[in-house]
Point group: C2
């Protein structure tokens, strides 16, 4: 995709393969052009590879270069997303999903900071001015490392502690899932290529927090999710 | 070593094996006791293993548990310390070593933040309240990620972005190398087990910035460095 919004500087997009980072990628490509956009995907010992496969497919779709960086967060553990001995919680209702137990179990210790720090290192090595992430606080389950004040503190740290001072941009940070779906629609995000479910089964489980938030977003935006069983 | 200063909480010490981190380890062990101290050493694709061997020997000396974490910073590159194609600069005088070229060549992109972020993750997984680092701004060559204002920004980020909010402590941050040697002497740091030289030869090269700063510290403190050729 050619650069439509006029920013020709190089950027890195942290791409997991979920709906938030896919929307962020679409936005960055629109802004910087696919030739100036590098996707950075972390292979961090997550429970399954579905999300990483989605990330690779999205990079092919958007014709952007992808870097896959292996970081052994499973050696650190402490989360249901990196330790198979801890079960991903399943919920019946949206309200249940907001209970404290969810954050306690699927928070990956300081993951977003580790990812952003590595993205800063790549930015300095590759000459990128901007780092895009899909951080989203409103409907993400209340993880501490997705809040606007966290983002401000992160950018302050980068300004003080790096040589080239790239900026982290989180275009979705204050959007609801409904607004993300609407925004993604205007960008033409290929939702069928994304993967949100914390489980790595053939189809989304529909019961984990990621599935619940995704369903809420699509329903409220009145958009058909091609991954929902009834739509496949 | 038994805990002498009365803080029984668990801590992590980021240990490279150099004189600064060895002194920091000695301090943390004195404060928390060896049974409450965990050394975290990064195998990050550095040019040589001498420093990592020194770290392992120091852990044996202090009877602390060591975690070695592999992170592929050599895949990112951009530094003489992780890319063998870039030569480590050699200097004739101390003044030469302070030239801008030094920082440009041996700064490892955002390394200290990556290391601290991983240390925070371990702290959360292992229940450690404190992270000790050997950051030292005065005589370290002016890297941006060793300054007191950087440390403040890092702790602010950790407070906002982590679940358990461990604190990063850098006891040497405003000390000169002379003061570090003096402080290390009071703690009984076994200097012979440390390694500072950026090169990985059998003996320190004497010409890289790390060798130059080390020599200056020992000379000014009037302490014999067992690694100096004339003292071996």
């Amino acid at each position: 995709m050619k650069c439509l919004l006029g920013n020709k500087s190089k950027c890195i997009v942290i791409l997991s393969g979920g709906m938030d980072s896919a929307t962020t990628l679409a936005y960055a490509v629109r802004k910087h052009g696919s030739e100036n956009t590098i996707a950075l995907t972390f292979d961090y010992g997550q429970r399954h590879l579905k999300e990483m496969q989605a990330a690779a497919t999205l990079c092919a779709h958007y014709k952007v270069k992808q870097i896959v960086f292996r970081v052994f967060l499973e050696a650190i553990g402490g989360s249901a997303l990196t330790d198979k001995a801890i079960q991903v919680p399943a919920f019946k209702t949206d309200e249940d999903a907001w209970k404290q137990t969810h954050v306690a179990l699927t928070y990956v210790p300081f993951r977003n900071t580790i990812f952003c720090a590595i993205a800063v290192a790549y930015s300095e090595a590759l000459g990128c001015k901007y780092i895009y992430t899909g951080f989203n606080y409103i409907d993400s389950g209340g993880y501490p490392d997705t809040r606007p004040e966290y983002l401000d503190a992160l950018n302050r740290l980068i300004k003080l502690g790096s040589r080239d001072k790239p900026t982290v941009i989180a275009p979705l940070i204050t959007m609801t899932k409904k607004e993300i779906v609407q925004f993604g629609e205007t960008l033409g995000v290929p939702w069928r290529l994304t993967w949100s479910c914390y489980q790595g089964k053939e189809r989304p489980c529909g019961k984990c927090n990621a599935c619940i938030q995704r369903r809420k977003g699509f329903e409220q935006a009145n958009v058909v999710d091609p991954l929902e069983p009834r739509n496949r």
